[in-house]
Protein backbone atom coordinates (compact mmCIF):
# COMPACT_ATOMS: atom_id res chain seq x y z
CA UNK A 1 0.00 0.00 0.00
CA UNK A 2 2.77 2.39 0.97
CA UNK A 3 4.55 1.69 -2.30
CA UNK A 4 1.39 2.41 -4.27
CA UNK A 5 1.02 5.73 -2.47
CA UNK A 6 4.63 6.60 -3.16
CA UNK A 7 4.21 5.94 -6.85
CA UNK A 8 1.32 8.39 -6.91
CA UNK A 9 3.36 11.10 -5.21
CA UNK A 10 5.03 13.71 -7.32
CA UNK A 11 8.75 12.99 -6.81
CA UNK A 12 10.51 15.57 -4.65
CA UNK A 13 14.23 16.27 -4.53
CA UNK A 14 16.37 18.09 -1.97
CA UNK A 15 19.88 19.19 -2.91
CA UNK A 16 22.46 20.34 -0.40
CA UNK A 17 25.40 21.76 -2.30
CA UNK A 18 28.69 22.21 -0.48
CA UNK A 19 30.99 24.60 -2.28
CA UNK A 20 34.52 23.29 -2.74
CA UNK A 21 34.27 20.21 -0.51
CA UNK A 22 36.55 17.47 -1.84
CA UNK A 23 35.49 13.85 -2.08
CA UNK A 24 38.84 12.73 -0.62
CA UNK A 25 38.60 15.15 2.33
CA UNK A 26 35.11 14.00 3.35
CA UNK A 27 36.21 10.37 3.09
CA UNK A 28 39.22 11.11 5.30
CA UNK A 29 37.18 12.97 7.95
CA UNK A 30 34.60 10.16 7.98
CA UNK A 31 37.41 7.67 8.53
CA UNK A 32 38.66 9.84 11.40
CA UNK A 33 35.19 9.65 12.97
CA UNK A 34 34.43 13.36 12.69
CA UNK A 35 31.36 13.23 10.45
CA UNK A 36 28.86 10.63 11.72
CA UNK A 37 25.89 11.90 9.71
CA UNK A 38 27.84 11.91 6.45
CA UNK A 39 29.03 8.40 7.31
CA UNK A 40 25.53 7.04 7.87
CA UNK A 41 24.28 8.61 4.68
CA UNK A 42 27.20 7.59 2.54
CA UNK A 43 27.18 4.03 3.91
CA UNK A 44 23.58 3.68 2.78
CA UNK A 45 23.57 5.56 -0.51
CA UNK A 46 25.70 6.04 -3.59
CA UNK A 47 28.78 8.29 -3.40
CA UNK A 48 31.18 9.03 -6.26
CA UNK A 49 34.06 11.30 -7.11
CA UNK A 50 33.14 13.84 -9.81
CA UNK A 51 34.98 16.20 -12.15
CA UNK A 52 34.43 19.95 -12.23
CA UNK A 53 34.71 22.13 -15.36
CA UNK A 54 37.52 24.11 -16.96
CA UNK A 55 38.46 26.57 -15.75
CA UNK A 56 37.88 25.31 -12.24
CA UNK A 57 35.92 28.25 -10.78
CA UNK A 58 32.70 28.08 -8.79
CA UNK A 59 30.75 30.45 -11.07
CA UNK A 60 31.53 28.28 -14.09
CA UNK A 61 30.94 24.99 -12.29
CA UNK A 62 27.59 25.94 -10.76
CA UNK A 63 26.41 27.39 -14.06
CA UNK A 64 27.15 23.98 -15.61
CA UNK A 65 25.39 22.31 -12.69
CA UNK A 66 22.25 24.43 -13.13
CA UNK A 67 22.09 24.13 -16.91
CA UNK A 68 23.66 20.71 -17.60
CA UNK A 69 25.77 22.47 -20.23
CA UNK A 70 29.33 23.41 -21.02
CA UNK A 71 30.37 27.09 -20.76
CA UNK A 72 30.17 27.47 -24.55
CA UNK A 73 26.41 27.14 -24.14
CA UNK A 74 25.73 28.83 -20.79
CA UNK A 75 28.17 31.71 -21.36
CA UNK A 76 29.82 31.85 -17.90
CA UNK A 77 33.58 31.42 -18.31
CA UNK A 78 34.97 32.79 -15.03
CA UNK A 79 34.46 35.10 -12.05
CA UNK A 80 35.43 37.96 -14.34
CA UNK A 81 35.01 38.16 -18.07
CA UNK A 82 35.83 40.50 -20.89
CA UNK A 83 33.38 42.91 -22.45
CA UNK A 84 33.33 41.89 -26.13
CA UNK A 85 35.67 43.94 -28.30
CA UNK A 86 37.38 45.53 -25.30
CA UNK A 87 39.97 44.74 -22.68
CA UNK A 88 37.60 45.87 -19.92
CA UNK A 89 36.47 43.21 -17.51
CA UNK A 90 33.13 42.76 -15.76
CA UNK A 91 31.61 40.38 -13.23
CA UNK A 92 29.26 37.93 -15.01
CA UNK A 93 25.95 37.37 -13.26
CA UNK A 94 22.72 35.49 -13.91
CA UNK A 95 21.92 38.19 -16.48
CA UNK A 96 24.76 36.77 -18.57
CA UNK A 97 23.89 33.10 -18.11
CA UNK A 98 22.36 32.24 -21.45
CA UNK A 99 20.61 29.03 -20.72
CA UNK A 100 17.60 27.85 -18.79
CA UNK A 101 18.33 26.47 -15.36
CA UNK A 102 16.77 23.33 -13.94
CA UNK A 103 14.72 25.60 -11.66
CA UNK A 104 13.28 27.39 -14.68
CA UNK A 105 12.61 24.13 -16.53
CA UNK A 106 10.80 22.81 -13.44
CA UNK A 107 8.88 26.08 -13.14
CA UNK A 108 7.58 25.81 -16.69
CA UNK A 109 6.44 22.28 -15.87
CA UNK A 110 4.46 23.63 -12.91
CA UNK A 111 6.80 22.33 -10.21
CA UNK A 112 7.35 24.45 -7.13
CA UNK A 113 10.94 25.47 -6.60
CA UNK A 114 13.03 26.78 -3.70
CA UNK A 115 16.63 27.69 -4.52
CA UNK A 116 18.97 29.45 -2.13
CA UNK A 117 22.46 30.88 -2.59
CA UNK A 118 23.62 28.90 -5.64
CA UNK A 119 26.45 30.85 -7.35
CA UNK A 120 25.41 32.90 -10.41
CA UNK A 121 21.80 33.28 -9.27
CA UNK A 122 22.09 37.02 -8.74
CA UNK A 123 20.14 38.99 -9.91
CA UNK A 124 17.40 36.47 -9.05
CA UNK A 125 15.51 35.23 -12.12
CA UNK A 126 11.83 34.34 -11.72
CA UNK A 127 10.88 30.80 -10.73
CA UNK A 128 7.63 29.16 -9.73
CA UNK A 129 8.45 29.55 -6.06
CA UNK A 130 11.32 31.30 -4.31
CA UNK A 131 14.87 32.04 -5.41
CA UNK A 132 17.37 33.61 -3.02
CA UNK A 133 20.38 34.87 -4.94
CA UNK A 134 24.04 34.23 -4.31
CA UNK A 135 27.16 36.00 -3.03
CA UNK A 136 27.24 38.17 -6.17
CA UNK A 137 24.39 40.13 -4.59
CA UNK A 138 25.24 43.42 -2.93
CA UNK A 139 22.49 43.57 -0.34
CA UNK A 140 19.34 41.88 0.92
CA UNK A 141 17.06 44.42 -0.80
CA UNK A 142 17.50 42.88 -4.26
CA UNK A 143 18.57 39.34 -3.35
CA UNK A 144 15.31 37.43 -3.73
CA UNK A 145 12.48 36.57 -6.08
CA UNK A 146 9.71 37.35 -5.32
CA UNK A 147 10.84 40.65 -3.86
CA UNK A 148 8.85 40.33 -0.63
CA UNK A 149 11.12 37.44 0.42
CA UNK A 150 13.89 40.01 0.88
CA UNK A 151 11.95 41.56 3.75
CA UNK A 152 11.53 38.13 5.37
CA UNK A 153 15.25 37.50 5.05
CA UNK A 154 16.03 40.85 6.60
CA UNK A 155 13.75 40.06 9.52
CA UNK A 156 15.52 36.73 10.05
CA UNK A 157 18.95 38.40 9.98
CA UNK A 158 20.03 36.44 6.90
CA UNK A 159 23.58 36.95 5.67
CA UNK A 160 24.57 36.55 2.02
CA UNK A 161 28.24 35.70 2.47
CA UNK A 162 31.13 35.75 4.92
CA UNK A 163 33.42 38.75 4.50
CA UNK A 164 36.79 37.55 3.25
CA UNK A 165 38.22 40.97 4.16
CA UNK A 166 38.07 39.79 7.78
CA UNK A 167 40.24 36.78 6.93
CA UNK A 168 42.93 39.09 5.59
CA UNK A 169 42.98 40.90 8.95
CA UNK A 170 42.20 38.32 11.61
CA UNK A 171 41.80 34.59 10.94
CA UNK A 172 40.27 33.88 14.30
CA UNK A 173 37.49 36.39 13.66
CA UNK A 174 36.96 34.90 10.21
CA UNK A 175 36.14 31.52 11.74
CA UNK A 176 33.47 33.21 13.85
CA UNK A 177 32.26 34.99 10.72
CA UNK A 178 31.89 31.72 8.76
CA UNK A 179 30.13 30.03 11.66
CA UNK A 180 27.77 32.98 12.02
CA UNK A 181 26.88 32.99 8.31
CA UNK A 182 26.44 29.21 8.35
CA UNK A 183 24.07 29.48 11.33
CA UNK A 184 21.97 32.12 9.60
CA UNK A 185 21.95 30.10 6.38
CA UNK A 186 20.76 27.00 8.28
CA UNK A 187 18.08 28.94 10.15
CA UNK A 188 16.65 30.37 6.93
CA UNK A 189 16.98 27.04 5.12
CA UNK A 190 14.99 25.20 7.80
CA UNK A 191 12.40 27.98 7.87
CA UNK A 192 11.65 27.61 4.16
CA UNK A 193 12.04 23.83 4.20
CA UNK A 194 9.10 23.79 6.61
CA UNK A 195 7.11 26.79 5.40
CA UNK A 196 7.51 26.94 1.62
CA UNK A 197 5.71 24.76 -0.86
CA UNK A 198 8.29 22.92 -2.98
CA UNK A 199 8.92 19.97 -5.24
CA UNK A 200 12.59 20.89 -5.58
CA UNK A 201 14.57 22.41 -2.71
CA UNK A 202 18.21 23.44 -2.80
CA UNK A 203 20.39 25.13 -0.21
CA UNK A 204 23.93 26.03 -1.13
CA UNK A 205 26.59 26.25 1.59
CA UNK A 206 29.28 28.70 0.47
CA UNK A 207 31.09 28.85 3.81
CA UNK A 208 32.90 25.56 3.16
CA UNK A 209 34.74 27.14 0.22
CA UNK A 210 35.54 30.23 2.27
CA UNK A 211 36.98 28.15 5.13
CA UNK A 212 38.96 25.99 2.71
CA UNK A 213 40.57 28.98 1.01
CA UNK A 214 41.94 30.36 4.27
CA UNK A 215 42.43 27.21 6.40
CA UNK A 216 43.22 24.38 4.01
CA UNK A 217 46.49 23.57 5.81
CA UNK A 218 44.22 22.39 8.66
CA UNK A 219 42.76 19.73 6.36
CA UNK A 220 46.19 18.20 5.93
CA UNK A 221 47.84 18.94 9.27
CA UNK A 222 45.97 18.42 12.51
CA UNK A 223 48.64 20.39 14.37
CA UNK A 224 48.14 23.49 12.24
CA UNK A 225 46.83 26.59 14.00
CA UNK A 226 43.02 26.59 13.87
CA UNK A 227 42.92 22.84 13.03
CA UNK A 228 40.38 22.17 15.79
CA UNK A 229 38.20 25.10 14.76
CA UNK A 230 38.35 23.91 11.15
CA UNK A 231 37.21 20.40 12.05
CA UNK A 232 34.56 21.81 14.40
CA UNK A 233 33.19 23.86 11.51
CA UNK A 234 32.83 20.70 9.42
CA UNK A 235 31.17 18.95 12.36
CA UNK A 236 28.56 21.72 12.29
CA UNK A 237 28.03 21.07 8.58
CA UNK A 238 27.67 17.38 9.44
CA UNK A 239 25.05 18.22 12.10
CA UNK A 240 23.15 20.30 9.57
CA UNK A 241 23.15 17.43 7.04
CA UNK A 242 21.82 15.10 9.74
CA UNK A 243 18.93 17.46 10.56
CA UNK A 244 18.06 17.87 6.85
CA UNK A 245 17.93 14.10 6.42
CA UNK A 246 15.67 13.63 9.40
CA UNK A 247 13.35 16.48 8.41
CA UNK A 248 12.76 15.40 4.81
CA UNK A 249 11.97 11.78 5.64
CA UNK A 250 12.33 8.79 3.33
CA UNK A 251 10.11 9.74 0.43
CA UNK A 252 12.18 12.67 -0.79
CA UNK A 253 15.39 12.05 -2.71
CA UNK A 254 18.46 13.69 -1.21
CA UNK A 255 21.46 14.74 -3.27
CA UNK A 256 24.66 16.16 -1.82
CA UNK A 257 27.32 17.52 -4.13
CA UNK A 258 30.29 19.81 -4.40
CA UNK A 259 31.67 21.66 -7.42
CA UNK A 260 35.40 21.10 -7.15
CA UNK A 261 38.10 19.74 -4.89
CA UNK A 262 40.76 21.64 -2.95
CA UNK A 263 44.50 21.35 -2.48
CA UNK A 264 47.14 23.37 -0.61
CA UNK A 265 48.65 26.41 -2.31
CA UNK A 266 52.38 26.34 -2.85
CA UNK A 267 52.40 29.67 -4.64
CA UNK A 268 50.00 32.12 -6.27
CA UNK A 269 51.32 32.65 -9.80
CA UNK A 270 50.77 35.85 -11.80
CA UNK A 271 50.58 34.39 -15.26
CA UNK A 272 50.67 37.74 -17.07
CA UNK A 273 54.05 38.42 -15.44
CA UNK A 274 55.29 35.07 -16.78
CA UNK A 275 53.97 35.87 -20.27
CA UNK A 276 55.72 39.26 -20.07
CA UNK A 277 59.00 37.66 -18.99
CA UNK A 278 58.70 35.25 -21.92
CA UNK A 279 58.30 38.19 -24.32
CA UNK A 280 54.72 37.28 -25.23
CA UNK A 281 53.10 40.20 -23.41
CA UNK A 282 54.32 43.80 -23.40
CA UNK A 283 53.03 46.80 -21.50
CA UNK A 284 53.26 50.49 -22.34
CA UNK A 285 54.34 51.25 -18.79
CA UNK A 286 56.48 49.56 -16.14
CA UNK A 287 53.52 49.64 -13.74
CA UNK A 288 50.44 48.61 -15.73
CA UNK A 289 47.09 49.34 -14.14
CA UNK A 290 44.93 47.21 -16.43
CA UNK A 291 44.99 45.22 -19.66
CA UNK A 292 44.42 48.50 -21.47
CA UNK A 293 48.09 49.24 -20.81
CA UNK A 294 49.05 46.31 -23.05
CA UNK A 295 51.13 47.10 -26.12
CA UNK A 296 49.68 46.18 -29.49
CA UNK A 297 52.53 43.83 -30.40
CA UNK A 298 51.67 41.51 -27.51
CA UNK A 299 50.91 37.92 -28.49
CA UNK A 300 48.78 36.84 -25.53
CA UNK A 301 47.41 37.80 -22.12
CA UNK A 302 45.64 35.99 -19.30
CA UNK A 303 42.48 36.30 -17.26
CA UNK A 304 42.07 34.40 -14.00
CA UNK A 305 42.30 31.40 -13.71
CA UNK A 306 44.69 30.38 -16.46
CA UNK A 307 42.54 31.65 -19.35
CA UNK A 308 44.81 32.73 -22.19
CA UNK A 309 43.65 35.00 -25.00
CA UNK A 310 45.65 35.42 -28.19
CA UNK A 311 45.89 39.10 -29.19
CA UNK A 312 44.00 38.29 -32.35
CA UNK A 313 43.54 40.82 -35.12
CA UNK A 314 39.88 41.63 -35.75
CA UNK A 315 38.77 40.40 -32.32
CA UNK A 316 40.97 42.18 -29.80
CA UNK A 317 40.89 46.00 -29.70
CA UNK A 318 44.61 46.20 -30.46
CA UNK A 319 44.93 42.77 -32.03
CA UNK A 320 48.06 42.21 -34.10
CA UNK A 321 48.20 38.42 -34.49
CA UNK A 322 46.89 37.83 -38.00
CA UNK A 323 44.18 35.14 -38.26
CA UNK A 324 46.44 33.00 -40.47
CA UNK A 325 49.06 33.03 -37.68
CA UNK A 326 46.58 32.23 -34.90
CA UNK A 327 47.39 28.51 -34.67
CA UNK A 328 51.11 29.18 -34.74
CA UNK A 329 50.72 31.73 -31.93
CA UNK A 330 48.58 29.36 -29.87
CA UNK A 331 51.14 26.56 -30.24
CA UNK A 332 53.95 28.88 -29.22
CA UNK A 333 52.09 30.18 -26.16
CA UNK A 334 51.09 26.62 -25.13
CA UNK A 335 54.70 25.39 -25.45
CA UNK A 336 55.97 28.36 -23.45
CA UNK A 337 53.41 27.82 -20.69
CA UNK A 338 54.41 24.18 -20.32
CA UNK A 339 57.97 25.38 -19.69
CA UNK A 340 56.87 27.64 -16.82
CA UNK A 341 58.85 26.63 -13.70
CA UNK A 342 58.65 27.63 -10.05
CA UNK A 343 61.65 29.91 -9.40
CA UNK A 344 62.38 28.44 -5.97
CA UNK A 345 62.13 24.72 -6.74
CA UNK A 346 62.28 24.48 -10.53
CA UNK A 347 59.10 22.39 -10.42
CA UNK A 348 56.82 22.64 -13.46
CA UNK A 349 53.80 24.86 -12.86
CA UNK A 350 51.54 24.04 -15.80
CA UNK A 351 50.33 20.45 -16.12
CA UNK A 352 48.35 20.84 -19.32
CA UNK A 353 47.25 23.45 -21.83
CA UNK A 354 43.81 22.84 -23.31
CA UNK A 355 42.60 24.27 -26.60
CA UNK A 356 39.15 25.78 -26.26
CA UNK A 357 37.60 23.56 -28.93
CA UNK A 358 38.52 20.52 -26.84
CA UNK A 359 36.27 21.55 -23.94
CA UNK A 360 33.74 24.06 -25.26
CA UNK A 361 31.10 24.13 -27.94
CA UNK A 362 27.93 26.11 -28.44
CA UNK A 363 26.73 29.51 -29.51
CA UNK A 364 28.97 31.41 -27.05
CA UNK A 365 32.09 29.49 -27.98
CA UNK A 366 33.65 32.59 -29.58
CA UNK A 367 33.83 34.33 -26.18
CA UNK A 368 35.94 31.55 -24.65
CA UNK A 369 39.66 31.94 -23.98
CA UNK A 370 41.83 30.45 -26.72
CA UNK A 371 43.74 28.27 -24.26
CA UNK A 372 43.15 27.06 -20.71
CA UNK A 373 46.33 26.55 -18.66
CA UNK A 374 45.77 23.79 -16.09
CA UNK A 375 48.21 24.04 -13.18
CA UNK A 376 49.84 21.32 -11.18
CA UNK A 377 48.32 21.10 -7.70
CA UNK A 378 49.55 23.96 -5.58
CA UNK A 379 50.03 26.65 -8.22
CA UNK A 380 47.09 29.04 -8.12
CA UNK A 381 46.99 30.94 -11.42
CA UNK A 382 46.04 34.61 -11.16
CA UNK A 383 45.43 37.28 -13.80
CA UNK A 384 46.29 40.49 -11.94
CA UNK A 385 48.39 42.68 -14.28
CA UNK A 386 49.34 45.13 -11.53
CA UNK A 387 51.55 42.56 -9.82
CA UNK A 388 55.17 43.04 -10.76
CA UNK A 389 56.27 39.75 -9.24
CA UNK A 390 56.01 36.23 -10.66
CA UNK A 391 54.51 34.61 -7.59
CA UNK A 392 53.86 35.03 -3.90
CA UNK A 393 52.15 33.57 -0.86
CA UNK A 394 49.25 35.44 0.72
CA UNK A 395 46.63 34.67 3.35
CA UNK A 396 45.12 32.10 1.01
CA UNK A 397 46.23 28.53 1.78
CA UNK A 398 43.85 26.46 -0.36
CA UNK A 399 43.03 26.44 -4.08
CA UNK A 400 40.49 24.75 -6.35
CA UNK A 401 41.14 21.35 -7.88
CA UNK A 402 39.38 19.93 -10.94
CA UNK A 403 39.03 16.24 -10.24
CA UNK A 404 37.94 15.76 -6.64
CA UNK A 405 34.35 17.02 -6.36
CA UNK A 406 31.75 14.71 -4.82
CA UNK A 407 28.26 13.54 -5.72
CA UNK A 408 25.95 11.57 -3.46
CA UNK A 409 22.45 10.22 -4.12
CA UNK A 410 20.62 8.69 -1.17
CA UNK A 411 18.16 6.28 -2.76
CA UNK A 412 19.49 5.50 -6.24
CA UNK A 413 22.67 3.91 -7.46
CA UNK A 414 24.93 6.23 -9.44
CA UNK A 415 25.69 4.59 -12.79
CA UNK A 416 27.90 6.89 -14.84
CA UNK A 417 27.22 6.88 -18.58
CA UNK A 418 30.81 7.86 -19.26
CA UNK A 419 33.95 6.86 -17.41
CA UNK A 420 34.14 10.12 -15.46
CA UNK A 421 31.18 11.93 -13.97
CA UNK A 422 31.17 15.69 -14.39
CA UNK A 423 29.06 18.34 -12.73
CA UNK A 424 26.97 18.89 -15.88
CA UNK A 425 25.54 15.38 -15.39
CA UNK A 426 23.63 16.48 -12.28
CA UNK A 427 20.96 18.64 -14.01
CA UNK A 428 19.62 15.86 -16.27
CA UNK A 429 19.77 13.48 -13.32
CA UNK A 430 17.59 15.74 -11.17
CA UNK A 431 15.10 16.28 -14.01
CA UNK A 432 14.92 12.53 -14.53
CA UNK A 433 14.33 11.95 -10.82
CA UNK A 434 11.43 14.41 -11.03
CA UNK A 435 9.97 12.67 -14.09
CA UNK A 436 10.65 15.71 -16.28
CA UNK A 437 11.90 15.69 -19.85
CA UNK A 438 15.62 16.36 -20.20
CA UNK A 439 16.21 19.02 -22.90
CA UNK A 440 18.06 17.59 -25.88
CA UNK A 441 20.68 20.34 -25.82
CA UNK A 442 22.00 19.45 -22.37
CA UNK A 443 25.57 18.14 -22.52
CA UNK A 444 25.35 16.13 -19.32
CA UNK A 445 23.84 12.66 -19.05
CA UNK A 446 21.62 11.37 -16.25
CA UNK A 447 23.50 8.92 -14.01
CA UNK A 448 20.61 7.21 -12.24
Amino acid sequence: MINVLRKNHSPRVVVISLDGVPYSFIKARIAAGDLPNFKTLFDNGSLRRMNSVQPCASSVAWASYMTGKNPGKHNIFGFVDKKPGTLETFVPTSANMMSDTIGEIMSRAGKKVFVMNVPVTFPPRPVNGILIGCFLGTGLEKIAYPAQVSAELKKMGYRIDASAAIARENLSRFIDECNDVLNKRAEVMFHYLAQASWDFFQCHIMETDRMNHFFWECAENQNAPYAKAFVDFYKRVDDLIGVVERKIGDETELIILSDHGFCPIKKEIYLNRFLAAAGLLKFKTASPKSLNDMQAESVAYSLIPGRIFINLQGREPQGTVAPERYEEAREKVARTLLECKAPDSGAPIIRDVIKREDVYHGEHFSKAADLIAVPHDGYDLKGDVTKLIFGENTALTGMHKFDDALIFVRQREIKPVQENLWIGDVAPTILKLMNLTVPADMDGAAFV
Binding site: V91, S94, M97, D100, R125, P126, V127, H213, D380
Partner: protein, 128 residues
Protein backbone atom coordinates in the same frame (compact mmCIF):
# COMPACT_ATOMS: atom_id res chain seq x y z
CA UNK B 1 12.65 51.45 -33.14
CA UNK B 2 10.77 49.24 -30.74
CA UNK B 3 11.21 46.25 -33.04
CA UNK B 4 14.98 46.46 -32.57
CA UNK B 5 14.48 45.83 -28.84
CA UNK B 6 11.43 43.59 -28.99
CA UNK B 7 12.16 41.11 -31.78
CA UNK B 8 15.41 39.67 -30.33
CA UNK B 9 13.67 39.16 -26.98
CA UNK B 10 10.76 37.37 -28.64
CA UNK B 11 13.08 35.22 -30.74
CA UNK B 12 15.02 34.30 -27.61
CA UNK B 13 11.76 32.97 -26.19
CA UNK B 14 11.51 30.78 -29.28
CA UNK B 15 8.63 32.80 -30.78
CA UNK B 16 8.27 32.72 -34.54
CA UNK B 17 8.53 36.32 -35.72
CA UNK B 18 7.31 37.47 -39.12
CA UNK B 19 7.85 41.06 -40.18
CA UNK B 20 5.11 41.80 -42.67
CA UNK B 21 6.08 45.32 -43.65
CA UNK B 22 7.98 48.18 -42.09
CA UNK B 23 5.28 48.84 -39.54
CA UNK B 24 3.66 45.55 -38.64
CA UNK B 25 5.00 42.40 -37.09
CA UNK B 26 3.11 39.19 -36.42
CA UNK B 27 4.43 36.84 -33.82
CA UNK B 28 3.36 33.33 -33.04
CA UNK B 29 3.57 33.53 -29.29
CA UNK B 30 2.28 30.06 -28.72
CA UNK B 31 -0.21 27.75 -30.36
CA UNK B 32 -3.17 29.85 -29.35
CA UNK B 33 -2.09 33.42 -29.76
CA UNK B 34 -0.88 35.73 -32.42
CA UNK B 35 0.63 39.04 -31.43
CA UNK B 36 0.47 41.94 -33.82
CA UNK B 37 1.72 45.40 -33.30
CA UNK B 38 2.34 48.58 -35.19
CA UNK B 39 5.75 50.07 -34.59
CA UNK B 40 5.11 53.76 -34.40
CA UNK B 41 7.81 54.90 -32.04
CA UNK B 42 8.47 57.92 -34.18
CA UNK B 43 4.83 58.97 -34.35
CA UNK B 44 2.40 60.34 -31.82
CA UNK B 45 0.06 57.36 -32.26
CA UNK B 46 -0.21 54.89 -29.36
CA UNK B 47 1.39 51.53 -30.01
CA UNK B 48 -1.18 48.77 -29.93
CA UNK B 49 -0.58 45.15 -29.08
CA UNK B 50 -3.15 42.43 -29.15
CA UNK B 51 -2.33 38.87 -28.33
CA UNK B 52 -5.65 37.34 -29.35
CA UNK B 53 -5.90 35.10 -32.37
CA UNK B 54 -5.99 37.59 -35.22
CA UNK B 55 -6.09 37.40 -38.96
CA UNK B 56 -6.12 41.11 -39.43
CA UNK B 57 -2.89 40.97 -41.41
CA UNK B 58 -1.86 44.24 -39.97
CA UNK B 59 -5.03 46.15 -40.72
CA UNK B 60 -5.36 48.19 -37.55
CA UNK B 61 -8.72 49.75 -36.87
CA UNK B 62 -10.41 51.53 -33.97
CA UNK B 63 -11.76 48.08 -33.01
CA UNK B 64 -8.23 46.74 -32.83
CA UNK B 65 -7.29 49.63 -30.58
CA UNK B 66 -10.21 49.00 -28.28
CA UNK B 67 -9.47 45.28 -28.10
CA UNK B 68 -5.81 45.73 -27.29
CA UNK B 69 -4.44 44.23 -24.10
CA UNK B 70 -1.36 46.41 -24.16
CA UNK B 71 -1.09 50.01 -25.24
CA UNK B 72 2.23 51.80 -25.21
CA UNK B 73 2.40 55.56 -25.37
CA UNK B 74 5.15 55.81 -27.92
CA UNK B 75 5.41 59.56 -27.54
CA UNK B 76 6.09 59.20 -23.80
CA UNK B 77 7.85 55.84 -23.46
CA UNK B 78 11.24 54.94 -24.92
CA UNK B 79 11.50 51.95 -27.30
CA UNK B 80 13.26 50.00 -24.55
CA UNK B 81 10.51 50.78 -22.04
CA UNK B 82 7.87 49.78 -24.59
CA UNK B 83 9.63 46.47 -25.31
CA UNK B 84 9.99 45.68 -21.60
CA UNK B 85 6.34 46.57 -21.01
CA UNK B 86 5.19 44.30 -23.84
CA UNK B 87 7.30 41.38 -22.61
CA UNK B 88 6.12 41.81 -19.04
CA UNK B 89 2.48 42.07 -20.07
CA UNK B 90 2.73 39.02 -22.34
CA UNK B 91 4.04 37.08 -19.35
CA UNK B 92 1.22 38.32 -17.14
CA UNK B 93 -1.36 37.49 -19.82
CA UNK B 94 0.00 33.96 -19.95
CA UNK B 95 1.16 34.30 -23.57
CA UNK B 96 4.79 33.77 -22.55
CA UNK B 97 6.28 31.78 -19.71
CA UNK B 98 8.16 34.07 -17.32
CA UNK B 99 10.60 31.28 -16.57
CA UNK B 100 13.80 31.01 -18.56
CA UNK B 101 14.61 31.35 -22.28
CA UNK B 102 16.65 34.45 -21.56
CA UNK B 103 18.57 36.72 -23.84
CA UNK B 104 21.76 38.22 -22.54
CA UNK B 105 20.89 41.27 -20.53
CA UNK B 106 23.55 43.83 -21.24
CA UNK B 107 21.85 46.28 -18.95
CA UNK B 108 24.11 46.33 -15.94
CA UNK B 109 23.29 44.04 -13.04
CA UNK B 110 25.13 46.54 -10.84
CA UNK B 111 25.48 50.26 -10.41
CA UNK B 112 29.09 51.43 -10.72
CA UNK B 113 29.44 51.55 -6.93
CA UNK B 114 28.00 48.04 -6.56
CA UNK B 115 30.35 46.64 -9.19
CA UNK B 116 33.33 48.14 -7.33
CA UNK B 117 32.07 46.51 -4.13
CA UNK B 118 31.57 43.08 -5.73
CA UNK B 119 34.93 43.22 -7.50
CA UNK B 120 36.61 44.11 -4.20
CA UNK B 121 34.93 41.13 -2.51
CA UNK B 122 36.06 38.81 -5.29
CA UNK B 123 39.59 40.21 -4.99
CA UNK B 124 39.62 39.43 -1.25
CA UNK B 125 38.83 35.83 -2.17
CA UNK B 126 41.62 35.82 -4.76
CA UNK B 127 39.13 35.57 -7.63
CA UNK B 128 40.21 38.56 -9.75
Amino acid sequence: MILDDLVPQLKARKCKVEIMDDAVVRVEVNQNFVLSHRDCASSQVPLVVTCRQSNSGGAFTIDTMNAAEIVCEANRETPDECAQKIMRQLEQLGCLSPFGNRIENDRRAYSEAEEVLVTQRLAELGYV
